[in-house]
């Protein structure tokens, strides 16, 4: 039995304890198996380190070289062609493959070493706020992927496959974790505003693929109704709706009496939950109860719906209300040209909110049980795309290494994990030697974190064995990590 089935069984039985008239146990089990919407986490594969996850997804591929991965030696080689042995046959996107040269491009930003619980972590001046929580972060320098274009890469990291059609990470979590909240959906997705919306996002990134559709992420929107169709039509009050729902329930109950299908009872429950959501969501979105100190933490921009800070604050509020699966997508990290201008703006968008979220969770005693993940779908090249000057440059997509950080939720705080060569191009072993052959998804190499490993680790922290959370489709027991993935125990506290 899948863990969720098991939980369902539990919760559904409670649910229908009174109403499951005349239904055989087998019927109930079957029915439960098909409708897991109300599962709770009664049964997981192992004791979870984290109760929930907040995933801050930086869509477009942040430059690890200008944020987290300090490469001072690049300065000495400014403008030189990147050595062939560094590239080592790496395929290059069509955007730079026709460039006459691939000049080494150091970051123009100042890096400072911040104390953590290990030997410190270098952080660029673009992220002054995040740097203040260095002691809480596990900074992974050795994340990698195979995909070199946005659509395949983002689909890969979020669904485990470069080709669309699979359930998203969030949907798998929803399937595995169920929903604890009685009046909010279990999987919430937010889109934060950006000045550089230079990539697309796709429904598939929070879609349910071949999992039942109730596992798709529910968008919490900053425009119009925060949840689709949340508001009653004009002229219909909450009291009117209550009367209406009473009638609806009576009609549905008669249908159930007539046809006996438990699905009808499930629908009655969902109508009730929808009714509760009509107050719980506005209550969630209403920040008036938040003290001023909160806005000092997140910044005044947190009062503006849709900003990253506002989304981060919402994430914390959702976490407090029992939502276990929260994602914020922030676009605009795809800096092929004018990287400084774009990344300065991008970092400004998210920096404060990231730090505030961690401090806030910590302040509330929730960080230990909340896993926070920050990262994009790939890194950026250490050679320049387009014209290189000291002040301005661009960087192409780079799959061989990029930086992801995690915090809270059972991750070792204040460490760095994995390292890259002096070019920030290849992953190295502990001695600083470039790994040969290149690490791949087929075998885990210590010190590396393939995106499947990252996802396996996220699942693990939440109490789920990525090899056991499967769903039978097309005759195959599919899982998020395909046939790969390794839990990186090195970073788990």
């Amino acid at each position: 039995m899948n863990p969720s089935d098991f939980q369902l069984f539990q919760t559904r039985r409670q649910f229908f304890g009174r109403t499951a008239l005349g239904l055989g146990t087998a019927a109930m089990a079957q029915f439960l198996g098909q409708n897991e919407a109300f599962a709770s986490s009664a049964a997981l594969h192992h004791t979870p380190k984290a109760k929930r996850v907040i995933y801050l997804f930086m869509s477009g591929g942040p430059s690890h070289l200008d944020t987290w991965d300090y490469k001072p030696k690049l300065n000495e080689m400014f403008g030189d062609d990147i050595p062939n042995e560094v590239r080592d046959g790496q395929r290059i996107t069509g955007m730079t493959s026709r460039q006459k040269s691939l000049p080494v491009c150091p970051s123009k930003y100042k890096f400072t070493k911040h104390d953590n619980n290990d030997s410190g972590v270098w952080v660029s001046e673009l992220l002054p706020h995040t740097a203040t929580v260095a002691k809480d972060l596990c900074v992974i320098h050795s994340a990698f992927t195979e995909a070199i274009n946005h659509d395949p890469a983002i689909t890969y990291i979020q669904t485990g496959s470069q080709i669309p059609g699979r359930p998203s990470l969030g949907a798998w979590l929803s399937y595995g974790l169920g929903n604890e909240s009685e009046d909010l959906p279990g999987y919430i997705v937010m889109h934060a505003k950006t000045s550089f919306a230079e990539q697309s996002l796709f429904g598939r990134l929070w879609g349910s693929g071949f999992l039942p559709a109730e596992h798709q992420g529910v968008l919490l929107r900053s425009q119009g109704d925060p949840v689709l169709y949340l508001k009653n039509p004009p002229g219909v009050s909450r009291a009117d709706r209550k009367v209406q729902l009473k009638a609806l329930e009576a009609l549905n109950r008669e249908q159930h009496r007539e046809f006996g299908d438990p699905e009808i009872l499930a629908r009655i429950k969902q109508h009730e939950m929808a009714y509760r959501m009509q107050t719980s969501v506005p209550e969630l979105m209403d920040l008036s109860g938040e003290p001023d100190e909160v806005f000092k933490l997140y910044g005044e921009e947190a009062r503006v719906p849709g900003t990253f800070s506002a989304c981060a604050l919402n994430a914390r509020r959702l976490a407090q209300r029992g939502v276990r699966n929260i994602q914020i997508f922030h676009r605009g990290w795809d800096a092929h040209g004018n990287l400084p201008r774009e990344h300065e703006s991008q970092c400004k968008d998210v920096d404060r909110g990231c730090a505030a979220l961690i401090k806030d969770l910590k302040r509330l005693g929730m960080l230990d049980e909340t896993l926070v993940v920050w990262g994009g779908e790939f890194g950026r090249t250490s050679y320049c795309q387009g014209k290189l000057t000291k002040e301005n440059y661009g960087r192409d997509h780079h799959p061989r290494c990029f930086t992801v950080w995690m915090a809270g939720g059972g991750v070792k705080p204040g460490i760095t994990y994995g390292r890259t060569d002096d070019f920030g191009y290849n992953i190295c072993d502990a001695d600083g030697e470039v790994l040969k052959p290149q690490p791949d998804k087929h075998h885990w190499t210590p010190g590396t974190v393939h995106i499947h490993d990252l996802n396996a680790t996220i699942l693990h922290l939440l109490g789920i064995d990525h090899k056991k959370l499967t769903y039978r489709y097309q005759g195959r027991d599919f899982r998020l990590t395909d046939v790969h993935g390794h839990v990186v125990h090195d970073i788990i506290a």
Partner: protein, 919 residues
């Protein structure tokens, strides 16, 4: 009448074990049903078709493999290593990390070895055999003892059920009444025939097919730009409506372009081959997407027609099914020769494309015109025609020397006289050939000289709003084609084109008679050329009256063509691309020798006589000797009718799929479907007239069969997204019955697209239709693959990025919000309220009408009570709060409070399971 089963209500029969057939200890083990699924699921990962992980040589997927090393010693379980190991407590097989065997499974394996350990083929790869017996016979046979069919549903329930299943809408009240009043014996059959004759039938049936082929109106990846392929969708609808034999339906889609002299429809059908999501993301590597596009095609073919997941074999030989890594790429080779670029250029017209009628009415009109044309041509005396061609040739009509055009000049801007003209060498063939920016208006001008009166065709590409001037006088234009009738002398032609980033600006001037330069006689001309010549001949070919008719017809044809749109089609490259096996499915690691197109051996060989191209593939698929295709299709049709399929994994018929609940029935239906000439309507009729179908859908107290595995009750389930929406629009009278055309955009919440899309995407802005199109049936709703309409996805519609042959049926709070609050539902409820109010004075009569529409019956007493009570409280509220009433239903109604009260009631009943379920 079926006898009632209520008297045995005390004995509850649990049907949990169904799927495993009834078999007592004496029955011989059935390898394919009982053993192979265990071996596949628990052993093949290491001992299967791909030879395992290299740690073992033992293969358990054949008798030879199993017996070679003594794993199986036939008849001697105690000497069989396999049996010893599975019972070994210290070192059991399967090893710890794998899925364990249950005790029952272990015993089964032991018994099987004892009985000889014989292998037979997996059921789905054995040709289906027709058996005698009706649907009901086979269903009845599987009933446990003391179980009989449920009583027959009443006629009204049946009428609604059949209408929803066949047409996706409840029955029209007058049709319902006529059926209920029809006391003749074949009343029900007549009723079914009527439903299937309705154009709504095709609109509903097409939807399932579009899910399977992942039809979308956008490219699906990256920018997710618009794609012009809706004529394919329209063709599918028309094809279902005309009950096109399904083998033909498949053949045209896979290979319409490879048929001799393919018709427009056959070419449109090849949109199937072009349905893969595509990209033109900056920097993508074409070879990578050539491979990915083909993966997608192979895997879609697998799910949609073969019930086989090929995904595993993309990277390695299949773990469970006998499909090798090489076979995957041999199958892929069929698709590797299509002419389109692997990258879509973000273009709406992602070539090759074809110009075709833009909606279903236009198709009907076009078909009619073609008929008229053929008739007219048939009436011609061929000898006269050929003689006339000779005569015309001698007059030199088609010689370009007969007309002369000067070198063209070009300019930009709104009016040519204000602009500087510059010389260009030739008429433009692509964007760069003209000066100016792509989105500007551009002018092309030249002079034509003719010796005698002549017709020349001017064809061009332009954005909306081109203009034509002849000797300075504006000439009306219909579309991007003009037939110039030129008097002797010189004519100045000025053509204004509107630039478009995605459209190559092309201009071409040609004589109708040019065709005769290559085609030497009348018969070798295409009908359209013949009719054009006939129309243009000025009587040189035949008599004046025919010429006149032809000219009139030609005018109609030209004006129809002027309204044509474009659609993506498949076209074969003259020289095939090389296909090689890709190691681990990586496009940049091709291995070994080039592969020829071929089919997986386990599914039956491909006859030597068949061409090794898509047409050969289609012939193989539709051959009588194919074990899978008819089974896979029939299974899905069964699922459409009964809500659940005979093979509960319609996407997977391989070893890991479910066994059919009623294998003999599936086989019989499959063979009969083939023998009937792939006649779908006949198949539906057979299913819908069965006693099995006509049962009441009430869950039985005497049976515990939640999945309805034995079909001892009729179908009952929540309706699909499209049906829920369409029913509301239909009941309210808002439904726009117009068929086909570019996808329509009903209202959706602001910002759904812009929050996701790249600034350069042409689908970042959603502009809802407001001209009535927004009330078309959901099959026509614009399908943006990365963000389909939320009222579709909330109710389990797939995003159409990949093939879907079985939708989930979820129940969520968001559905509740959608049902009760979404604007279009409120609009429908209001219109329905007005319709009810207009229809009768009495609440009672109005209520009856409401239930007649949504439930095909009258309300029960308690329903009446609930509804009237809701109505009363709404009236009380709205009469006191007229502003609220106005807010809800607007000011354009007579009695706001009354309309608002009824609107509330209609929303509620439309949201209830009375309306959104089929029973």
């Amino acid at each position: 009448m079926p006898k009632t089963c209520l008297h045995i209500a005390f004995a509850i029969v649990i049907v949990a074990v169904l799927g495993v057939p009834k078999c007592d200890a004496q029955d011989k083990i059935n390898f394919a049903k009982q053993i192979l699924p265990i071996l596949s699921d628990k052993c093949f990962l290491c001992h299967g078709p791909d030879g395992g992980k290299g740690e073992t040589d033992l293969r358990l997927d054949s008798f030879e493999g199993a017996t070679a090393g003594g794993a199986v010693d036939p008849g001697e379980p105690d000497d069989s290593e396999m049996i010893l190991r599975i019972f070994d407590e210290d070192d059991p097989m399967p090893p710890e990390e794998s899925k364990p065997l249950s005790d029952v499974e272990k015993e089964l394996l032991k018994r099987w070895v004892k009985e000889g350990g014989q292998y037979t083929q997996h059921w789905a790869y054995v040709l289906p055999q027709k058996q005698t017996g009706s649907i009901d016979d086979w269903i009845n046979k599987s009933f446990p003892e003391n179980v009989d069919f449920a009583p027959q549903a009443d006629r009204a329930t049946l009428a609604r059920r059949a209408a929803l299943i066949l047409t996706g809408l409840p029955p029209e009240p007058d049709e319902l009444t006529a059926f209920l009043d029809d006391k003749s014996e074949d009343a029900y059959e007549t009723y079914l025939d009527q439903l299937m004759a309705s154009t709504r039938y095709g609109e509903h049936q097409a939807r399932y097919w579009l899910d399977a082929v992942r039809y979308g109106d956008t490219h699906g990846l990256h920018l997710d730009n618009r794609r012009g392929i809706f004529p394919y969708r329209d063709w599918v609808i028309r094809s279902f409506n005309s009950n096109q034999p399904f083998d033909q339906f498949i053949t045209w889609q896979l290979a319409g372009d490879l048929l001799p002299d393919p018709t427009m429809e056959q070419l449109v059908a090849t949109g199937f081959v072009r349905m893969n999501p595509s990209t033109a993301e900056g920097g993508v590597i074409p070879a990578e997407f050539q491979a990915k596009n083909n993966f997608d095609r192979v895997e879609t073919l697998g799910v949609a027609l073969l019930g086989t997941s090929f995904v595993c074999a993309r990277c390695h030989t299949h773990k469970y099914d006998p499909i090798t890594h090489t076979e995957y790429y041999e199958l892929l080779a069929f698709f590797n020769n299509t002419a389109e670029s692997p990258l879509d250029g973000n273009a709406y017209q992602y070539g090759p494309i074809l110009k075709v009628p833009a909606n279903i009415k236009a198709w009907d009109n076009w078909t009619q015109l073609e008929k008229e044309r053929d008739q007219l041509l048939k009436g011609l005396d061929k000898n006269i025609a050929n003689a006339a061609v000779e005569l015309a040739k001698s007059l030199g009509h088609w010689k370009s020397s007969n007309w002369k055009a000067t070198k063209p000049i070009a300019s930009t801007g709104e009016r040519p006289e204000e602009k500087q003209w510059e010389n260009i060498d030739r008429l433009p063939g692509k964007n760069g050939d003209l000066p100016g920016k792509t989105d500007q208006a551009r002018w092309v001008s030249f002079e034509v000289e003719v010796g005698s009166k002549q017709n020349l065709a001017l064809t061009f590409n332009s954005g909306p709003g081109p203009e034509l001037f002849l000797n300075g006088q504006p000439e009306p234009l219909q579309g991007n084609l003009a037939s110039l009738t030129l008097e002797p002398g010189t004519t100045k032609v000025e053509l204004k084109l509107i630039g478009s980033k995605r459209l190559p600006l092309q201009v071409e001037l040609s004589s109708l008679w040019d065709a005769l330069r290559e085609k030497k006689n009348w018969d070798s001309l295409a009908p359209q050329q013949q009719i054009s010549l006939l129309a243009d001949s000025g009587g040189e070919l035949v008599d004046e009256s025919k010429t006149k008719q032809a000219a009139e017809l030609n005018k109609k044809i030209e004006s129809a063509q002027a309204q044509f749109t474009t659609t993506l089609i498949a076209k074969e490259l003259p020289k095939p691309r090389v296909t090689k096996l890709l190691e681990r499915g990586e496009y940049d690691i091709p291995q070994g020798e080039p592969l020829n197109p071929d089919v997986p051996e386990t599914m039956g060989a491909m006859s030597d006589e068949l061409p090794r191209n898509r047409l050969g593939l289609a012939r193989w698929l539709t051959d009588a000797d194919h074990p899978l295709v008819t089974r896979v299709l029939v299974n899905r049709f069964w699922q459409q009718v009964f809500g659940v399929a005979l093979v509960r994994t319609p996407e997977e018929f391989g070893l890991q799929g479910d066994h059919p609940t009623h294998p003999e029935l599936l086989d019989t239906l499959a063979v009969e479907f083939h023998q009937s000439g792939w006649d779908l309507k006949k198949l539906f009729k057979r299913m819908l007239t069965s006693r099995t179908f006509c049962q009441q859908s009430k869950w039985r107290p005497d049976l515990s069969d939640p999945e309805n595995k034995i079909y001892a009750r009729g179908p009952g389930y929540r309706l699909d997204a499209e049906v829920i929406r369409d029913t509301a629009l239909w009941a309210s009278g808002l439904l726009d019955s117009e068929m086909g055309g570019e996808g329509v955009k009903p209202w959706q919440p602001e910002g759904m697209w812009s929050a996701l899309m790249h600034p350069r995407s042409n689908t970042k802005k959603y502009v809802a239709d407001q001209d009535g199109r927004e009330f078309r049936r959901s099959i026509y709703v614009y399908w943006k693959r990365t963000s389909p309409h939320p009222m579709m996805t909330l109710f389990d519609a797939p995003n159409r990025e990949s093939s879907c042959v079985r939708r989930s049926r979820s129940t969520t709070p968001l559905q509740s919000l959608g049902l009760l609050n979404e604007s279009q539902r409120i609009a429908a409820a209001k219109a329905l309220a007005q319709r009810l109010i207009a229809g009768g004075e009495e609440d009672q009569a109005r209520l009856d009408q409401l239930f007649l529409l949504l439930a095909s019956r009258k309300p029960t007493d308690s329903e009446k009570e609930v509804c009237l009570s809701l109505l009363e409280s709404s009236r009380e509220k709205f009469s006191k709060n007229l502003d609220d009433a106005t807010a809800l239903v607007g000011q354009d109604v007579n009695d706001e409070a009354e309309v608002a009260s009824w609107t509330q009631l209609c929303v509620t009943v439309m949201a209830s399971d009375i309306a959104i379920r089929l029973n």
